[in-house]
């Protein structure tokens, strides 16, 4: 509730002056006080406006500052994510390289013994589960390989190994597998290869090696002896390998550069 100003207040006196037909005594002094009060109010308003403006500016700066540091953080985060992704790609590629290195022979590029062992076990368990998943195992050994190493050096031996590996690899179908099993020994897994086709396949391997291009004029074309066998469903892969090995010995005994099955 608004309080009435007292009788002698400036407001009342000004009102009285304005209502009078002729200016009463003391009008000038009242007007002077009014003007003084007006100036006070004006100064107060100026100060208030100034303070309010400063508050607004400060608030705006603060939110702009938040915005800027927020944007900076976002950019930083995006950068961290980008770099982190690249590191992960790098690790992934490294893992693939290591995986390849652990499964492949670096000289010939063929699968290595470790890889082949896993695949043989897989093939054996498949054969045990389902009829008609039989497979043939063959071992090819380069004849007189030691002589190449001894007479022409290990570099020549390595080239000979690569040449034989290439010739053997070119004799394979899509699902056949050839691994470097040991020094100059190669092991084959031929899925769906039976009694009739095994000797034909072995013979093809043997011929392809002896038809391979020579690595040097003074080094004879390599030949291989091959022992092969069919996996008997239910038997261990070691038993199959042992039989293939025996067959290989027989081929060596029979004068080399031939294929014998057991």
């Amino acid at each position: 509730m608004q309080q009435c100003p007292p009788e002698d207040s400036l407001e009342r006196r000004i009102e009285a002056i304005l209502n009078a037909d002729t200016p009463p005594d003391g009008w000038k002094e009242a007007l002077g006080k009014l003007f003084e009060r007006y100036l006070d109010q004006q100064r107060l308003l100026d100060r208030l406006t100034h303070i309010a403006d400063r508050f607004q500016a400060a608030e705006r700066e603060r939110s702009q500052g938040y915005m800027a540091s927020y944007e900076k953080k976002v950019r930083q985060l995006e950068k961290i994510v980008r770099i982190s992704d690249q590191y992960q790609t790098m690790l992934h590629q490294l893992k693939e390289r290591l995986e390849h290195a652990s499964n492949y022979d670096s000289l010939t590029g063929l699968p290595n013994r470790r890889y082949m062992t896993v695949r043989l076990e897989e093939a054996a368990s498949q054969a045990a589960r389902k009829n008609g998943n039989g497979f043939a195992v063959m071992i090819a050994d380069i004849d007189h390989f030691k002589a190449v190493n001894d007479n022409f050096g290990h570099a020549a031996g390595d080239r000979q190994l690569k040449a034989v590996a290439r010739a053997l690899e070119l004799s394979l179908r899509e699902y056949d597998l050839c691994a470097r099993w040991g020094g100059e020994e190669f092991l084959f897994l031929f899925p769906a290869c039976d009694q009739t086709s095994a000797p034909v396949v072995a013979e093809r391997l043997r011929k392809n090696v002896s038809a391979a291009p020579r690595i040097s004029d003074n080094i004879a074309t390599p030949t291989v002896s091959i022992g092969y066998t069919l996996h008997r469903p239910g038997e261990s892969i070691d038993a199959t390998l042992l039989r293939a090995d025996e067959a290989l010995y027989k081929a060596k005994d029979a004068g080399r550069n031939c294929a014998i099955g057991m």
Binding site: Q76, I83, S84, Q86, Y87
Partner: protein, 125 residues
């Protein structure tokens, strides 16, 4: 001011900070179990050096793998260097990498992107 010597472990890099020479060396992989514990002393050392000294500060880096927290810590370090550089301080980074692993060089380039101070990236010869 003390020097800082942190021996390399399988998950943390070797770190040597020499206040006499104004050099910081970091080399190896970085995926510390507790990134804050690992990096804070390094960042403190850098702050100390930048604050209490006006000599140049040079970084020799041969970092290889960095996990996400380590990336963040390195970006913090580079931010500090950038700030000092803009304030007129002489700072620099030399990041060398195994030429067999080009990717590490590409990653160093990513770090360099927002830095205006001297930042060289080169395969180890």
């Amino acid at each position: 001011m003390n020097n800082l010597e942190i021996a390399q472990t399988p998950s943390t890099p070797e770190v040597r900070a020499d206040s006499g020479q104004g050099r910081v060396f970091m080399s190896g992989d970085s995926y510390p179990e507790n990134p804050f514990d690992f990096f804070q002393p390094i960042i403190d050392w850098i702050d100390d050096f930048l604050k209490n000294d006006d000599r140049p500060l040079a970084f020799d880096l041969a970092l290889i793998y960095l996990n996400t927290s380590s990336i963040r810590a390195m970006m913090d370090i580079f931010d500090r260097l950038e700030e000092s550089h803009l304030a007129g301080r002489s700072v620099s980074v030399d990041w060398c990498y195994d030429p067999d692993n080009e990717r590490v060089g590409e990653l160093a380039e990513e770090f360099k992107e927002d830095c205006t101070f001297p930042f060289t990236i080169a395969p180890r010869s």
